[in-house]
Amino acid sequence: MSLKKTPLHAAHQRAGAKLVDFAGWEMPLHYGSQMEEHKMVRAGAGMFDVSHMQVVDIHGPQAQPFLRYLLANDVAKLKTEGRALYSCMLNESGGVIDDLIIYWTGGDSYRAVVNAATAEGDIAHMQQVAKDFDVNVEPRPEFALIAIQGPQAVEKTLPLLPEDLRSAAGDLKPFSAVWNDAWFVARTGYTGEDGFEVMLPQAEADGFWEKLKDAGVNPIGLGARDTLRLEAGMNLYGTDMDDRTNPLTANLGWTIALKDAERDFIGRKAIEQWKAEGVKERMVGLVLEGRGVLRGGTRIETPAGDGVVTSGSFSPSLGVSIAFARIPAAVDAEELQADIRGRMLPVRVVKPVFVRNGEPQIELNL
């Protein structure tokens, strides 16, 4: 089967990208050096082609009750037009079908952005659940998506946005969006830096990308996207959680809104049962200050039994290896042992947020 291509495929080839298969899409892994790209985003501005992610519009008289049933977070929290909410979509057993961002676009309209690998299943699930509601679930594959991230991202992007959106985009609070008939600009991201995620017509994507490049915004591949989100303490679907994961063991408890006891949502019963029984595992951050790199699957030895690294890499910002790991909830030791290719190395347990807005969030003992 041939790989799907985004509207920016030619731009990636022009820039000398190393292209790889990502969830059936041919996507840039890096354009030369993942490490340099990572640092460019922390220090200046970088742009990511995320057109493989899927936009889904939800509208209709029962859009709100539908989403309050479909999603574990509560869209009733969205009080301002354009405001965004991060949520998991759970199955009946409480496992995570996907994580997504949902925007309230006014009235009875919402817009969701879902992961590429899960998009097809997500849409089928949404449409199935929607049968019981007076609501329309409409995939919008005609958009290209570009994320511009970094301390200089906003200032470099603003002059290149459509004129009617510029001033409102400049005033956007984090986790909010503005739009016109064709473009949608949100102050969101997946790097722990300021910036925008922009949805625009596919035909305009290449031109916008080149203008950003001329303004000094560097193309960044999926490799750096992964290390940036890991440093920022953001989960990756399929790696840190999937449809068999109890979200309470994946640092996602804060996204599950149980406050309104009247609100039934898919997975609620399972979550409440887990809560009542007591959650047996939790997700922590790890730092390895020795020479070695924690990887997904690395075994972590604890006094209460083994844990496992869900996401691990070398942190280009910190110069050491960092990871998320799922460990027995009873463990309160500050130091654990990691099995790095047969050698046991000490790792330190930290809060799983390592870098935000260019600043280290943990202290290193180097």
Binding site: Q34, M35, T227, G292, V293, R295, S313, F314, R341
Partner: protein, 130 residues
């Protein structure tokens, strides 16, 4: 396309070997290998004095993406490791055949060199693998 200098010998596992005038050899990983690995973050080379067997794992190169063993192309005694790489592993990416060398050794049987590939054979091997 990655480069493979004509004056070096190569292994199937992507190490290169340079024969020095004093009978020693210098060993590193190829441009193709560093390209596959991506940015290196740690290099663990064997210590001077260590004896190594041809084909045995004797060094580790670790990138942002993965850790990979380096196999001794020849048997013999390690005479020197590239200490620069402890602080600057990126030299392997930037200059795999020169500043990014990993270690030097004195082969116990120089005829083992004849079993290694020349640049053309290595290029064909890389081609066949991809």
């Amino acid at each position: 396309m990655s480069e493979a200098p004509k004056d070096l010998k190569y292994t199937k596992s992507h190490e290169w070997v340079r024969q020095e005038a004093d009978g020693s050899v210098t060993i590193g990983i190829t441009d193709h290998a560093q390209e596959l690995l991506g940015d290196l973050v740690f290099v663990e080379a064997p210590e001077a004095g260590a004896s190594v067997e041809a084909g045995s794992a004797c060094a580790t190169v670790e990138s942002v993406k993965a850790a990979s063993d380096v196999y001794a192309p020849l048997s013999g005694e390690v005479t020197e490791a590239n200490e620069e790489l402890a602080d600057s592993p990126e030299k392997v990416n930037e200059s795999p055949f020169d500043e990014g060398w990993l270690f030097k050794m004195k082969p116990s049987d120089a005829s083992q060199l004849d079993a290694l590939m020349d640049a053309d054979a290595y290029a064909a091997h890389v081609e066949a693998e991809s």
